[in-house]
Amino acid sequence: MKCKVCEREAENEYCELHEKAHRNILREYGVWKKASDVSWKQYLIEVAKNPHTGVWAKEVAESLISETK
C-alpha cells in the first residue's frame, strides 16, 4: 500500500513519517477546540496555513482538506 501523501510504502493510510503527523493532527484538535471552538474543517485550514506547522503535518492537513471537499 502507498502512503496517501507521498510514494513511500505504508501499512495503513499513511507511511511511517506521515502517520506521526496524522496522529499529532488528531491529538491537537482537542486543544484547538477547547481554545477557540473551531470546526474540524476550519481547524485543518488553520493548521495548513500556519507557518509553524511542520511540512509533513501540512501535507496531511491538505490531504484531509481535499478529502472533506
Binding site: L17, K20, R27, E28, W32, V47, N50, H52, G54
Partner: protein, 701 residues
C-alpha cells in the same frame, strides 16, 4: 663526532617552533631534502627536528579487493599506499627514514594526546625501524620556549604506550565500522542502480545522524496550538516600562480578553517591592567544547573553525594546547608570570595589573579533568605578527576568560515590583550590577543587560498605558546548529573532543544534512532509516557510549586493545550479515533516495510564471544542451525556460537576485565563479550593459 638526536614533531610549523626554542642561538638551520623541510638545531648535542604531516600511516585492508565486505583483516601502512591524495607523504617517510639512520637517539615531540602519540609511534616504529622502544617523550602543553626547554631537559623516559594503545584501538575500531558499513550501503545502492555514489556511515556518525533525524521528525510532524498572552506597558514618572501579567499564557482567548477589559486604561497601585541580591560566580576556564560553544554564540564560528583557529594560536605559542577536556588551571602554569606578560599589551594592562594586586590568585574551576593537559589559557606571549580577525577574536576571548576566572563574584540586584489593578497582578522587573566583579574582565563578552527602574514606593499609583492581547502559537523544537549538536554529542559521550566537529562536517559533505540550522535531507532520512531498521545497534547511543568508555579505559591500562577489537568484530559480523541478506531492498531504498537528492540539487527555485512549478536545471534530449525549465512542463501546464551557459559547472546558488528577487545560479568557469541572474528583464542587467557600452565608447574615443 657530535652526538645527534632526531626529534619527531607533528607538523612543519611545530617543528620550526620547537627547533627555534631548543637552538642555543634561537636560529636553527632550515634544510630541504627532496622538498621535505627539517631543522638543524644545536644545544648540548645536534638536534634534527623533523616534522610529520599529521598521520603518515593509516589502516588498510590487508589483502583483497576494495569492493566487498565484511573485511576484518587490516594492517598499518603508509598513507601514500592507500590514498591517492597522499602521494607527497612518500617523500616525507623516505626523508625521515634516511635521517633516522644517522642519529644516536630519538625523541617524540608531537602533541601530547591520542593522535599526537600515535603519529610519533607510527613514525618511530615503521619509518625509523623499531625505534619506538628506545625513544623518549617530550610532554608540553604550550609551545613557549620555557616549556619546550623544560620538556626537552626532563623528557619522559619512554613513549606513553597506554595512550598509544588507546589511539590505535580507536582508529582500528572506527576503520572496522566505517569501512564495513559504508561499503555495505554503497554496494547495495550500486548493485541495484548500477551507478556509483559514495554513502558513508560510522561508529559516531550513525548515532549523530539519529539525533538529527529524531529532531527533524518532531519539527516536520509538528502541529502548533494556539495560546494567548498579554503585552502590557505602564507609565511611571513620564517613562514607559513593560510589565508581565501574573499568568504568562492563556489557553482560552476569552480569558485573555477578560483581563484586557478589566485593566485597560486603569490606574494600578504598587502593592509590593521585592529586592534580592544575587551573587554570580566567575565562569570556569575553557575546555575545547566550551570555547567552541562560546565562539559560536559570540562570533558565529562553527566548532571546526574555532578548533582550527585555536590550533593556529597554539602553534604560534599564544595559547595552550586547545584539544583538552580539562576545566582546571593548575598553579604550575604560573598565573602571575602570565598576567605580568599580558599586562604588556595596552588593552589588558589595567585589568592584569588589578589582578596582580590581589592577595591571592585562585581560579574558579570546572569539574572536568584531562590527564594530559590543563584548560585552555593564554601563554602570555604577545603576537609576533598582525593577527587576522578570527585569530584576534579567539585569542582575546581566551585571554579575557583567563582573567575572568580570577575575578571576584559579581553582585547583582534584582527588583520585582508587583502592581495590582482590579484584582489582577502585573510584575515590573529590574536588574543592575551592585558590584561588577569578574564581568569587568570578561567584557565585551558578558551577556547581562541592566534594566534600571525608577525609585518606587508601595502604594504609589501607576497608569496602565497599554494592555493588548497577543495571539500566539506554540513553536516546534529548535533545530540543532553546529554548536548545540556538538554539546549534545558531548552530553551523550560519543566521539572525542578532536573528532566531533569533523563528524558534523562529514554529515554535511555526504549530503545527509544541509544548512547551518541543520535540516536533514531525504537522503539523510533514508540512510538513518536503513541503519535503524536493519542494524539498530550501530545507531544506538548507549552502545556507542559503552564502546567509547571501553576505549577510554585502555588509556588507564584497565582494558585491553585485543578485547575491544574482538568484541567489535563479534558485534559487526551479524549486522553485516543482516545487511548483506537485505542488500536488494536496501539498494532500492537508497537508490531512490540518491535519485531524489540529485533532483533536489538541480532545483533552482519557484517558477515566476506559473508559481506552482519549480525551476530546474534540465538537459535537452535532442541537443544535450542544458537550460532552466519548469517542472510543470511535464504536466503540460508551463513552458517557461531560460538559457544557461554551456561551459563550466552550474548549480543553484540558493540566493536571490538583490534587484529582481529571482533565484540566482552559481557558474564556475576556469576558477572564476560568478552569480548569474537569468531573468532577461532584470534591471541590473540593463544597467550593466549600458555601463559596458559607455566604457567601450570611452575607450574608442
Amino acid at each position: 663526532m657530535e652526538k645527534s638526536i632526531l626529534i619527531v614533531t607533528e607538523k612543519p610549523s611545530a617543528a620550526q617552533r620547537i627547533a627555534k626554542a631548543l637552538d642555543y642561538q634561537g636560529k636553527p638551520e632550515k634544510v630541504k631534502d627532496d622538498g621535505v623541510p627539517y631543522f638543524l638545531a644545536h644545544r648540548d648535542q645536534k638536534l634534527v627536528v623533523v616534522p610529520a604531516l599529521g598521520h603518515l600511516y593509516t589502516i588498510v585492508h590487508e589483502r583483497g579487493r576494495r569492493n566487498y565486505y565484511p573485511v576484518f583483516n587490516f594492517k598499518w601502512a603508509p598513507r601514500y599506499s592507500a590514498e591517492r591524495r597522499a602521494k607527497q607523504t612518500r617523500k616525507w617517510i623516505e626523508v625521515i627514514s634516511r635521517l633516522a639512520n644517522d642519529v644516536d637517539g630519538f625523541i617524540a615531540a608531537c602533541d601530547y594526546d591520542l593522535e599526537g602519540s600515535l603519529i610519533s609511534y607510527c613514525l618511530l616504529k615503521y619509518a625509523c625501524g623499531g625505534k619506538e622502544v628506545v625513544a623518549k617523550r617530550m610532554k608540553f602543553s604550550t609551545l613557549t620556549k620555557r616549556e619546550l626547554e623544560k620538556a626537552y631537559e626532563e623528557p619522559l623516559p619512554h613513549l606513553d604506550f597506554a595512550l598509544i594503545e588507546a589511539g590505535r584501538t580507536r582508529h582500528e575500531v572506527d576503520w572496522l565500522y566505517g569501512v564495513n558499513l559504508s561499503r555495505a550501503l554503497t554496494l547495495a545502492a550500486k548493485r541495484w542502480s548500477g551507478r556509483y555514489a559514495t554513502l558513508s556511515t560510522g561508529r559516531v556518525q550513525g548515532p549523530t545522524l539519529k539525533f538529527l533525524v529524531g529532531r527533524e521528525r518532531e519539527i516536520r510532524s509538528f502541529v502548533p496550538t494556539p495560546y494567548w498572552a498579554l503585552k502590557v506597558k505602564v507609565e511611571i514618572k513620564g517613562s514607559t516600562y513593560e510589565v508581565e501579567y501574573e499568568t504568562k499564557t492563556f489557553e482560552k482567548k476569552m480569558d485573555a480578553d477578560a483581563v484586557v477589559k478589566a485593566c485597560k486604561g486603569k490606574i494600578g497601585e504598587v502593592e509590593t517591592i521585592e529586592v534580592r541580591k544575587l551573587q554570580q560566580k566567575p565562569p570556569i576556564p575553557f575546555d575545547l567544547g566550551k570555547l567552541q560553544t562560546e565562539a559560536y554564540s559570540l562570533f558565529g564560528y562553527t566548532p571546526r573553525r574555532t578548533s582550527y583557529v585555536a590550533q593556529r594560536l597554539y602553534i604560534e605559542a599564544l595559547i595552550s594546547y586547545p584539544r583538552t577536556s580539562s576545566q582546571k588551571l593548575p598553579p604550575t602554569i604560573n598565573y602571575t608570570a602570565i598576567l605580568k606578560a599580558l599586562s604588556k599589551e595596552a588593552s589588558y594592562k589595567k585589568l592584569a595589573s588589578e589582578l596582580l594586586g590581589k592577595d591571592e590568585l585562585k581560579p574558579v574551576e570546572g569539574k572536568k579533568e584531562d590527564p594530559a593537559h590543563p584548560a585552555i589559557y593564554p601563554t602570555g606571549n604577545l603576537p609576533e605578527r598582525e593577527l587576522r580577525q578570527p585569530e584576534k577574536r579567539i585569542w582575546d576571548l581566551v585571554v579575557r576568560r583567563f582573567m575572568a576566572v580570577f575575578g571576584d563574584p559579581a553582585i547583582r540586584q534584582s527588583m520585582k515590583v508587583c502592581i495590582g489593578v482590579n484584582g489582577h497582578r502585573f510584575y515590573l522587573r529590574g536588574r543592575r550590577f551592585l558590584k561588577e566583579g569578574w564581568t569587568r574582565f570578561y567584557r565585551p563578552y558578558v551577556r547581562a543587560e541592566e534594566a534600571l527602574l525608577p525609585a518606587l514606593k508601595e502604594g504609589e499609583k501607576v497608569q496602565m498605558k497599554r494592555v493588548v492581547r497577543e495571539d500566539k502559537f506554540t513553536r516546534p523544537p529548535p533545530r540543532y546548529n553546529p554548536s548545540s549538536l556538538l554539546q549534545k554529542m558531548e552530553e551523550e559521550g560519543i566521539g572525542t573532543k578532536a573528532t566531533r566537529a569533523d563528524i558534523i562536517e562529514t554529515l554535511h559533505s555526504r549530503g545527509y544534512v544541509a544548512e547551518e540550522r541543520i535540516v536533514v535531507t531525504d537522503l539523510g532520512f533514508d540512510v538513518a532509516d536503513v541503519l535503524g531498521r536493519y542494524c539498530p545497534r550501530v545507531t544506538s547511543v548507549k552502545f556507542t557510549r559503552e564502546l567509547e568508555e571501553k576505549m577510554e579505559r585502555i588509556q588507564t591500562n584497565s582494558e585491553k586493545r585485543e578485547n575491544v577489537l574482538v568484541e567489535t568484530v563479534s558485534q559487526l559480523k551479524p549486522v553485516l550479515e543482516e545487511l548483506k541478506g537485505r542488500e536488494q531492498i536496501i539498494g532500492q531504498v537508497l537508490t531512490k533516495a540518491i535519485k531524489r537528492a540529485r533532483m533536489q540539487e538541480r532545483i533552482i527555485g519557484n517558477c515566476p510564471d506559473c508559481e506552482t512549478g519549480k525551476l530546474m536545471i534540465l538537459y535537452s534530449r535532442k541537443t544535450r544542451k542544458r537550460f532552466i525549465g519548469c517542472t510543470n512542463y511535464f504536466k503540460g501546464i508551463c513552458t517557461t525556460s531560460f538559457p544557461l551557459p554551456q561551459r563550466g559547472t552550474v548549480k543553484p546558488a540558493q540566493k536571490n537576485c538583490k534587484r529582481c528577487g529571482w533565484p540566482l545560479v552559481f557558474v564556475r568557469l576556469k576558477r572564476r565563479p560568478w552569480m548569474l541572474c537569468f531573468n532577461p528583464d532584470c534591471s541590473l542587467k540593463e544597467e550593466r550593459r549600458k555601463r559596458v557600452e559607455m566604457q567601450s565608447l570611452r575607450e574608442g574615443s
